[in-house]
């Protein structure tokens, strides 16, 4: 795997801090995060609950503004990137629209882009195929299992052909088996689409299996405590989860939490 270094990173996070003002106190959720993400890279934000992973992802997505610092996306602001529809977002819950059938959920963002019916139809067909749900396109979301709903959410996020895919613990509500299968599926989709992925998780094996680099965050306040390069070859295979290298990486990352 060769990582082509480009002068401007896809996402440049510079001195980002975020504090939330609650009724009783001020919570410092993120402190001085500075890191670059390259185009086409798959990175994970890893850390225990409450360390600010979601906050950082939401700042990148321009859903919230940092208290200080800045995010630059391919040379522009995060807001410009959002308005240019560069982001596909997948939340922890699928957030499908109940009144739309599977296919119409996937074409939702396309309608807003004003694409023609034929283009919408074509993209939906491709995406349904990609996530293996062609047979279910005329079903309502509640007629699908949790894993299938999350695959619809991924297809919907990919529909706008986003340069950046932001995923916030997308598989954490699923059982271990579905999660591992979806990990593999996600990698196979990513290898075809080739966009930049920022993946939030609190599972160490999941972060290792998926990523080029793992950003380890530590809590109170949320800081970037370590960046771990994952040099496992691609394509990643299920067996690699049992390799000595995999275990070595797990223990490396685990140790980096010890000192926290």
């Amino acid at each position: 795997m060769t990582l082509t270094k480009i002068d401007t990173p896809e996402i440049a996070i510079d001195q980002v801090s975020m504090s939330y003002q609650t009724d009783t106190a001020k919570v410092l959720a993120l402190k001085d995060i500075t890191v670059d993400i390259q185009k086409g890279e798959f990175v994970s934000l890893l850390g225990p609950s409450g360390c600010g992973k979601t906050t950082l992802l939401r700042i990148m997505a321009d859903l919230i503004q940092p208290t200080s610092g800045s995010v630059t996306v391919s040379g522009g602001t995060a807001k410009e990137a959002r308005l240019a529809r560069k982001y596909g977002i997948v939340f922890q819950s699928p957030v499908l629209y109940d009144w739309r059938k599977v296919k119409k959920n996937i074409t939702l963002p396309l309608e807003m882009m004003g694409l023609s019916k034929e283009v919408q139809e074509k993209r939906a067909t491709t995406l349904l195929d990609l996530v293996g749900l062609s047979k279910f396109k005329e079903k309502y979301p509640w007629q699908l299992s949790g894993g299938m709903q999350q695959r619809v959410a991924i297809a919907r996020a990919l529909a706008i052909e986003p340069e950046i895919l932001l995923m916030d613990e997308p598989f954490s509500a699923l059982d271990e088996f579905s999660r591992e299968r979806l990990n593999e599926e996600l990698l196979s989709i990513w290898s075809k689409v080739g966009n930049t992925v920022v993946f939030v998780t609190h599972s160490i094996p999941e972060a290792i299996f998926l990523s080029d680099r793992v950003f380890v965050l530590s809590p109170h306040p949320g800081r970037l405590s370590k960046i771990v390069e994952i040099d496992l070859p691609r394509p990643r295979r299920e067996e690699m989860r049992n390799s000595p290298e995999f275990y070595q990486l797990i223990s490396d990352i685990r140790n980096s939490f010890e000192g926290v």
Binding site: L108, M112, S145
Partner: protein
């Protein structure tokens, strides 16, 4: 198979209804033999009601259709007004603060007092009936619709935001469909109210409608007792009918609501 099952389910209901009718008939007979004054105005014989119905069904149906037409027109007007105001209030806090107290206060005016005022202004029974029916529809629809429009899932809204969706698109594709269950709760409350409103105005002086024959038969005394009872029964039936029709439309428009989902998905 299916029909057998549903027949099996229906049987208890049929038995209950038959039992109630029998008890009614018995009580009616009981009052008569006790020689209670005006026994038949209290609990009339069912077969007398049926007899009167067979003679006057034409009148009953035609007056009902007059009432229903007015109620439906008023209902449509009130529902449109209610939805319109709800949308305005959901867009602007300012409009809500301005309009909401008046909307609430308007509901404090006794309808019995309002009807003659409206009639006094327009001097037209048709317009008055439609307006009163609209007035009764308006509030529950506006209130429920507003609640629905406000209840959009924050993450679903963020998704729209991330697509850089235009405000009208957020309304059309998210807020409005999401509000439909609430809107229909409002419509289901409002539909029988619109019927009641229309009948009420007819009671206060009109030439046609169920309320008119209701009043007339009440004043004509015991001889018209059965007809009076029939008008009351038809009034109730119109209310129930209006509710059922709105429920049916709801089922067709929002088949995705949890309560309409067939149990046991096919996957």
């Amino acid at each position: 198979m299916k029909s057998q099952i549903s027949l099996g389910r229906l049987t208890p209901a049929v038995v209950v209804v038959l039992a109630l009718l029998l008890i009614w008939q018995f009580l009616s007979w009981f009052l008569v033999i006790l020689e209670v004054p005006l026994a038949q105005s209290k609990i009339p014989y069912l077969h007398e009601l049926a007899l009167t119905f067979s003679t006057y069904s034409g009148t009953l149906f035609s007056e009902c259709s007059v009432t229903l037409t007015n109620a439906v027109m008023g209902f449509a007007l009130g529902a449109l007004g209610g939805v319109f105001l709800a949308v305005l209030m959901s867009i602007s806090k300012w409009v809500e603060q301005l309009a909401f107290p008046y909307a609430v206060a308007s509901q404090m005016i006794p309808i019995l007092g309002l009807a003659p005022i409206v009639y006094g202004i327009f001097r037209d029974e048709q317009i008055s009936r439609v307006l009163i029916a609209a007035y009764m529809t308006f509030f529950p629809v506006a209130l429920n619709c507003l609640r629905g429009l406000r209840s959009a899932d924050p993450q679903a809204l963020e998704l729209m935001y991330s697509y850089a969706a235009k405000p009208w698109s957020v309304y059309w594709r998210l807020r409005f469909p999401q509000s439909l269950p609430s809107l229909f709760s409002g419509l289901k409350i409002a539909a029988p109210l619109a019927v009641t409103g229309a009948i009420l105005v007819e009671l206060m002086g009109a030439t046609r409608g169920l309320g008119v024959i209701m009043l007339r038969n009440l004043y004509y005394g015991p001889s018209h007792n059965y007809m009076f009872w029939l008008t009351v029964i038809f009034g109730a039936a119109l209310g129930i009918l209006s509710y059922l029709i709105v429920s049916l439309i709801e089922r067709m428009v929002t088949p995705w609501q949890p309560e309409f989902r067939k149990s046991g998905g096919d996957e």
